[in-house]
Amino acid sequence: MGLPDSSGGLLSELDVDAFRRLFPLRFYESHLAKSTRPDGRPLDKARDTSSALGAVASADGSALVKIGSTTMLAAIKMEVMTPSQESPDEGCIAIEFHMPPICSPIVRPGRPAEAAPVVSKQLSDTILSSGMINLKELSLISGKAAWMVYLDIYCLDADGALFDAALLSAVAAFSHLQIPVVSMNDEGKVVVMSEENEGGKEPVNKEKRKLTLCSIPFSLTCILYKNYILADPTAEEESIMETLVTVVLDSSGQLVSLYKPGGSVLAYTSAIQDCVALTRQRVRELQTILDEATAGMEVD
C-alpha cells in the first residue's frame, strides 16, 4: 500500500468503517447535514421500543424493556417493615441501578461503573418527585407495618439513553406489580401469606393488590450538537457528541426534571423548548407502548 501524499488522498482510500473510526465527528456531520443518522433514523426519531411485563417469575413485579439495543431488566420485591416514627403511615421505596460487566466494554468486573450511582440517584429523585406512587398506599397498619419496596434495575446492554430505558422499565415494573397477600400471625406480626399456611387466617390486604399510578413520568434524552437535536442517542453518539439533555414529563404534561449536566454546547431557550416538544411526542408513544404491554398481560 503506497503512502498517500495528501489527506485528500488518504480520505479517498479509506473505506467507510475506517473513516467512521478515525474521524467520528466528520462522519456524523456528513450524515447530520442530510438530516439523517448512520442507523437510518431521522434526527428526531427514537429507536424501536418494546416492553414485556412479568419477565422475572419470582419477583412481585418485573419488566424487560428494550430501546433499540439498550436493554433493562427491572424487578420489584416487597417486604414488610416497621415504618419510621416521622412518617408512620407511609411505606418506603429503595431504588438501585446496576451496571454489571456484561453491559458494556467500559465496565470492568470488581470496579463499579461510574454512571451507576448517578443513574440510581436520578431515578429515585424522578420517581419520588413525580408523585407517581402515593407512599401512603404502601401502608398496611399505621405505625405498625408498611411495605418496603425494593426496585432493582439491571442494565443488560448499555447502548445509550440508559436513564430513559431504566425509567421506562421501572414504570413498567410498577404497573405489573402485584402486592403479596399478608396476614397477622399469632404473635401479632404481619407476615406474607404463602400458599400452604393459609390456615384460616384473615388476610390484611384482601382487596388492595395493585398500586394506583397517577401521573406516570416518561423521559427522552437528546443530544445537542451545534444546531442539531438528536433524540434518543446510541452509546456511540453519546461518546462523540457529549452534550446531553434529559427531559422528563409526566402524563399530565408537567415537567418532572430537566437534566443537563454540563457539556460543551450551551442550551438556549429555543433548544429547551424543542427538546420539551420532542419529549411530549415521545410521552404519547411510550404511553401506548405501556398500555399495550399491560393489555397483553390481562389477556393471558
Binding site: K121, G131, N227, L255, S257, K260, P261, G262, L266, V276
Partner: protein
C-alpha cells in the same frame, strides 16, 4: 402572592456572598465561597501528568472529589461529582494540556441550601486561582418554586425543603469584549443566556421552568459582576 421569607429577604434577594482566594498553602489554587451560611472550600491540584483509565488522553482530564461535611460519600455525592466534572469540563480549555489530570477537591464546610451552586462557584474561583486556562467562568444559582408558581432565589435549607420544586442553573458569565455587541449573540440570544447545567427536582409546569430561567439569568448577571470584582485584584495591571 407575596411570600414572606424567614430571613426577611425579598424573593430576588441573594444572601450575602463572600469569596476568598488562596486559602490553602499547599494547593495549587484554592478558594472558599460563602452564600449566607452555606460555605464550601475548593482546592485545585494540577495539571498532573497522565490521565485516568477510560479518559481521552488527547485532552486534559478533570477529576472531582466531593467530601461531605460528615460521613461517607454516597450516591448524592457521586452525582454532584459527575455534574461538577461535566460543568468544569465545559468551561476549561481541555486541548491546551493534553494527557494531564487536574483534581478539584470540594469540601463542604456548612450546608444551608443551594449547596451544588455554591460548590460550582467555589470550584470556578479555585480554578482561576490555580491559573487553569478557562474559556469563561460559570455562575451557578438556585431558584425555588412555590406552590403558587412564585419564584424565590438562593433558598436556605429550610426553604428548599418547604417548596414544591427547585432548579439549579449554571450560566456562563458575561464576557467583556472589544467586539461590537451583536457579535456575542447566538440565535438572537446573548451568550450568557445559554444553560451550561440544569438540574431540577420536583414537578412543575414547563412555563414555570422558563420563568425560573429568566429570573436565574437576571440574578447571575449580578453574581458574575461580583465574581469578576473579587478576581480583579489578582490580575496584573495592564
Amino acid at each position: 402572592m407575596e411570600i414572606d421569607r424567614l430571613d426577611g429577604r425579598t424573593p430576588n434577594q441573594l444572601r450575602p456572598l463572600a469569596c476568598t482566594h488562596n486559602v490553602l498553602n499547599r494547593a495549587h489554587g484554592s478558594a472558599s465561597w460563602c452564600q449566607g451560611d452555606t460555605k464550601v472550600l475548593a482546592a485545585v491540584y494540577g495539571p498532573k501528568a497522565g490521565t485516568k483509565k477510560n479518559e481521552n488522553p488527547e485532552k486534559a482530564c478533570i477529576e472531582v472529589i466531593w467530601k461531605p461535611k460528615t460521613g461517607q460519600s454516597g450516591k448524592t455525592e457521586r452525582e454532584y461529582e459527575m455534574i461538577l466534572k461535566r460543568t468544569l469540563q465545559s468551561i476549561c480549555i481541555l486541548t491546551l494540556n493534553p494527557n494531564t489530570t487536574t483534581s478539584v477537591i470540594i469540601q463542604v464546610v456548612n450546608d444551608d441550601g443551594a449547596l451544588l451552586p455554591c460548590a460550582i462557584n467555589a470550584a470556578c474561583a479555585a480554578l482561576v486561582d490555580a491559573g487553569i486556562p478557562l474559556k469563561h467562568l460559570a455562575v451557578a444559582i438556585c431558584c425555588c418554586l412555590a406552590e403558587s408558581g412564585y419564584v424565590i432565589l438562593d433558598p436556605s435549607k429550610l426553604e428548599e425543603q418547604k417548596m414544591k420544586a427547585f432548579v439549579y442553573l449554571v450560566f456562563p458569565n458575561s464576557v467583556l469584549s472589544n467586539l461590537p455587541e451583536g457579535q456575542l449573540t447566538v440565535q438572537g440570544e446573548p451568550m450568557e443566556h445559554g444553560i451550561i447545567t440544569s438540574v431540577t427536582q420536583g414537578a412543575m409546569p414547563v412555563d414555570d421552568y422558563l420563568h425560573c430561567l429568566e429570573r436565574g439569568r437576571a440574578a447571575t448577571a449580578k453574581m458574575s459582576a461580583f465574581l469578576r470584582k473579587s478576581l480583579q485584584p489578582k490580575l496584573p495591571i495592564d
